[in-house]
């Protein structure tokens, strides 16, 4: 075969050619200055779930930052290829934990997505899919309507059949829906609150949007646990979606609308601590100060709200709770991304689990590598989501744990779906639900032997 090209003569000392880096961005892709926090060291690579799977640098945080920089300085055009690699990011922020330079990657990827949505026209199928997600997920009433057929099928014992008949693209979506037979969570009783001093600090639990439809028990159990450690539990008059979905999808305006509504509600509740059973939502609340910093009316309130965001395990550790009930189980802990990387909470949930008599905590490998749930990511990027949850399930199985405990309903649905598909016996459970289980009537041990009371 003839070559039309011979490589440059190897004896030449031709210096590498690089275009000048302009002092100012040519296109407003992201806050240009933030890009220069990245010194290209590459320490983020192995902390990035998508790089771990594809092993391609364009699917690493450093690679995406390079894409943003190249889009901003005009050396690359926004085409399907660039969008593809920006889309593939889970926004897990694992790279922020790994980054020694303090790069605000979460901010950069959110900004770049706003730019993409404003400047790139997606194909019809993607637009339709995104519209459906955006129009339904933040609204519990619409979610319930959408789920009605599944609920009916479940009551008639036809969910397996429904799954079989569904087109394969729908099957992953169906798998994520947990059993819908109403679980009856016990709201924390006035009795719990009676022991709480009048001057005790107060906490409020935001019940989320998808969470209150699919995993509502976690909300009530979070409130119970907070009451049990001496918090006065306040309630919101109205909950709105936190805005995570919109931030993820580059829809900044509606995210701000949701944020404003929530800030008003949180302020009205007067709560000292703001908690969500969904750490994904909690991390968004913690970013309200930044999101609304230019809001004339609410900037100060948003900053106050952001400063009050905490999580169940941290509050429990702070109150020095002692567990007396024994609950014998082997447990492993999955670090939900926005709890570990977003809020920096890693030790508190583990400390809580270790403090329960009888609980044997075994660490899994890659406990803080994203499970692929990532908001609506498992609906929009099913292949990557499946690859990641498969890896997660393998790491869980290696521990032999009875329970995998975590702090985010999205992870719960995602991992549970995979464990169901595999027929694994490990049960996925939110920390709040696990605490209720452990503190409860000490139900029979998972190995089927008699209760260990």
């Amino acid at each position: 075969m003839a070559t039309t090209m011979k490589h440059e003569t190897p004896t030449s000392m031709a210096p590498a050619i690089a275009a000048a880096t302009p002092a100012h961005a040519l296109r407003p892709v992201v806050d240009y200055e933030l890009l220069f926090d990245c010194v290209h060291c590459g320490l983020c690579l192995e902390a990035c779930p998508t790089y771990v799977i594809t092993r391609a640098e364009v699917d690493s945080p450093r690679g995406r930052i390079y894409l943003m920089k190249s889009l901003a300085d005009g050396s690359l055009t926004l085409d399907a290829d660039a969008v593809r690699h920006l889309d593939l990011c889970l926004e897990c922020r694992g790279c922020e934990t790994a980054c020694p330079s303090g790069v605000h990657y979460g901010k950069l990827i959110e900004q770049s997505r706003v730019y993409v949505e404003r400047n790139y026209r997606r194909g019809l199928a993607e637009r339709l899919r995104n519209r459906v997600i955006n129009a339904i997920f933040p609204y519990p009433a619409r979610m319930r309507v959408l789920l009605a057929p599944v609920r009916l099928a479940e009551r008639a014992g036809l969910r397996p059949l429904m799954r079989r008949l569904a087109p394969s693209a729908m099957r992953d979506w169906l798998d994520l829906i947990p059993p819908l037979t109403p679980r009856k969570p016990a709201p924390h009783s006035p009795g719990d609150a009676a022991t709480v001093a009048a001057d005790a600090p107060s906490a409020v639990v935001h019940h989320g949007c998808v969470a209150q439809v699919l995993t509502d028990a976690e909300n009530w159990n979070t409130e119970r646990a907070l009451a049990a450690v001496g918090y006065r539990v306040a309630h919101l008059a109205r909950t709105q979606c936190c805005g995570a979905l919109d931030l993820h999808n580059g829809n900044l305006e509606r995210a701000r609308e949701f944020a404003r509504a929530n800030v008003r509600e949180f302020e009205q509740s007067g709560a000292d601590a703001i908690v969500s059973a969904a750490s994904g939502c909690a991390a968004v609340f913690a970013g309200y100060g930044e999101l609304l910093k230019d809001d004339r009316e609410l900037a100060a309130a948003a900053a106050r709200v952001a400063g009050r965001v905490s999580d169940l395990s941290s509050l429990m550790v702070a109150r020095g709770h002692r567990f007396t009930h024994e609950f014998r189980a082997t447990v492993t802990y999955h670090d939900s991304c926005h709890l570990a990387h977003g809020l920096g909470v890693r030790d508190a949930p583990r400390a809580i689990l270790r403090a329960i008599p009888g609980v044997n905590l075994i660490e899994m490998a890659e406990s803080d590598l994203c499970c692929g749930s990532a908001g609506s990511y498992n609906l929009t990027e099913p292949a990557m989501a499946r690859a990641l949850v498969g890896r997660k399930a393998g790491n869980i199985a290696a521990t032999g744990a009875d329970y995998v405990v975590l702090g985010n309903p999205g992870c719960e649905l995602q991992i549970a779906a995979e464990l169901r598909r595999r027929g694994a016996r490990t049960r996925v459970i939110h920390l709040a639900d696990f605490l209720a289980l452990a503190a409860g009537a000490n139900p029979s041990r998972t190995d089927g032997t008699a209760p260990a009371v």
Binding site: E8, M13, C38, H40, P100
Partner: protein, 482 residues
């Protein structure tokens, strides 16, 4: 170099490579190639025309046979964490990335060795054997991301090489795909080798001998105990003198690391490790070995550094305190990213006793070029790492940063030192090679290189300045694209 996707490679050749590797292993799109245009050395940039991502040695061999037939040059790349532009494609249109060859193949605890593919991440080797009380000793600061193949190319070191040695001391055997596609096994798993030390020739060859696809590495037993100390000095001169005092006393710590004030402040801002920001310098000193006698050694080191002028000596009381100190040290380079948009890390060596002189020289160079230069380095073996801060958007500043780096290297050489301790020559220092090697020395190296790579197609324009370019080499300043 092409970075706009209009490859100048023959489309038939690309099609043949696709057929050999599969579509997902051949990258030719502009957006995907763009991110490969530099490694941790960001001053020079060039994207390859095509990127190949093979999964096995057989695939690497198939590819190199094709490139051999067509006379096309290539450059290997691991995780792209290098700091000297070793994987910058200069005159090499094809880049071959080893990141998918990342399996740990076999661990033999009885013989203390592990067999890995070359794309395995350095730290993953240690993690895989930690439960059994072993580790892989060379620990570059980028160990959480860098690959064993990259370590082999650059003969990487790390803080603990003072006692344990650099990469070449830990590689027993290699599988290498030669530039013509033949697969050779060099060295062996046996401790005693006969014949030429070809493993030694390949380690540090920066990818100019071919592409290493598999390596048999030595495992090191975790020491029984460690003592990690932080010695705080008001004056950086005293800190460097303390280093010599420790070694002169016959004590070999497993690491002696120095951070100067600029670095201490960057690290404190990033990690809140509790370092005193008013100190002129700190030393992190780590002793390891059998528990018996270790505390005596630690006490002796404490006396020595106090004698040299340390105002405070802290001993890490537990693993958590030790981890904080090492986190601060290992991630110091990145923490510098908080101080300036860009930095260039220099890597030079001086005899330990000349550390006070070289730091003074660096201070003078910084002043002359009106640049900020921080120092964080492996003081125990005289391996300095001045970090030159600059902003790539300021053309003049970038030029001054490059000039300062060159002057620092010249100062190292003048003091009887060397051009690189562990980062390699890469694209960055090729012009400086004649500073320490005579034409005869370089000829021997060129001839050795030709044994592996007669056509000069494996990572061309690296390590050895070619005879034809001698005139350019001797120019005072390389042309640096701004």
């Amino acid at each position: 170099m092409s970075s706009n996707g209009n490859s100048r490679l023959d489309p038939h050749l690309i099609a043949e490579l696709r057929a050999a590797l599969g579509d997902d292993a051949v990258v030719a799109r502009a957006a995907e190639l763009k991110v490969y245009e530099c490694d941790g050395w960001t001053i020079e940039k060039a994207a390859p025309e095509i990127l190949l991502r093979p999964r096995t040695a057989a695939e690497v061999s198939a590819v190199l046979k094709i490139l051999h037939r067509e006379g096309v040059a290539f450059v290997p790349r691991g995780a792209g964490t290098g700091l000297s532009g070793g994987c910058l494609p200069i005159g090499a249109p094809v880049m071959i990335c080893t990141s998918r060859m990342n399996r740990i193949l076999a661990v033999d605890y009885a013989s203390r060795r592990v067999e890995v593919e070359s794309g395995v991440v350095n730290l993953h080797v240690s993690n895989a054997v930690a439960a059994r009380g072993f580790f892989y000793a060379p620990d570059p600061s980028s160990q959480a991301a860098c690959t064993i193949g990259g370590n082999i190319a650059e003969n990487s070191g790390g803080p603990h090489t003072l006692k344990y040695g650099v990469t070449t001391n830990h590689v027993l055997g290699l599988e290498i795909v030669l530039p013509d596609g033949k697969i050779a096994e060099l060295g062996s798993a046996a401790e005693e080798r006969c014949g030429y030390d070809l493993v030694g020739a390949v380690v540090g060859a920066e990818g100019t001998a071919g592409i290493v696809t598999r390596a048999t590495l030595k495992l090191t037993r975790e020491p029984e105990a460690r003592r990690t100390m932080l010695a705080v000095f008001s004056d950086v001169d005293d800190a460097t003198r303390a280093v010599s005092a420790i070694i002169a006393a016959g004590i070999i710590p497993c690491a002696i690391e120095l951070m100067d004030q600029l670095i201490i402040r960057a690290v404190e801002a990033a990690f809140h490790a509790g370092l005193p920001t008013d100190a002129g310098a700190v030393l992190i000193i780590e002793l390891d070995g059998a528990i018996a006698g270790l505390d005596d050694h630690a006490q002796r080191v404490g006396e020595l550094v106090r004698g040299a002028g340390a105002r405070e000596v802290r001993l890490a009381h537990d693993d958590a305190e030790r981890a904080i100190l090492w986190k601060a040290r290992k991630r110091a380079f990145g923490a510098v990213g908080r101080l300036a948009p860009n930095y260039a890390t220099q890597d030079g060596v001086v005899p330990r006793t000349r550390l006070p002189d070289i730091l003074r020289a660096i201070g003078a160079i910084a002043l002359r070029h009106n640049l900020r230069i921080g120092n964080v380095f492996h003081a125990g073996d005289g391996n300095i790492h001045p970090i030159v801060l600059y902003d790539e958007r300021d053309a003049d500043q970038t030029r001054r940063a490059v000039a300062a780096g060159r002057e620092i290297l010249q100062a190292c050489v003048a003091m009887g030192g060397s051009l690189t301790g562990e980062h390699g020559i890469g694209a960055e220092k090729i012009a400086e090679m004649p500073l320490i090697f005579s034409p005869e020395d370089l000829t021997v190296m060129s001839e050795l290189r030709r044994v592996f790579d007669p056509d000069g197609r494996a990572n061309p324009n690296k390590v050895i300045p070619t005879p034809g370019s001698c005139v350019e080499v001797s120019t005072p300043r390389r042309q640096v694209p701004i």
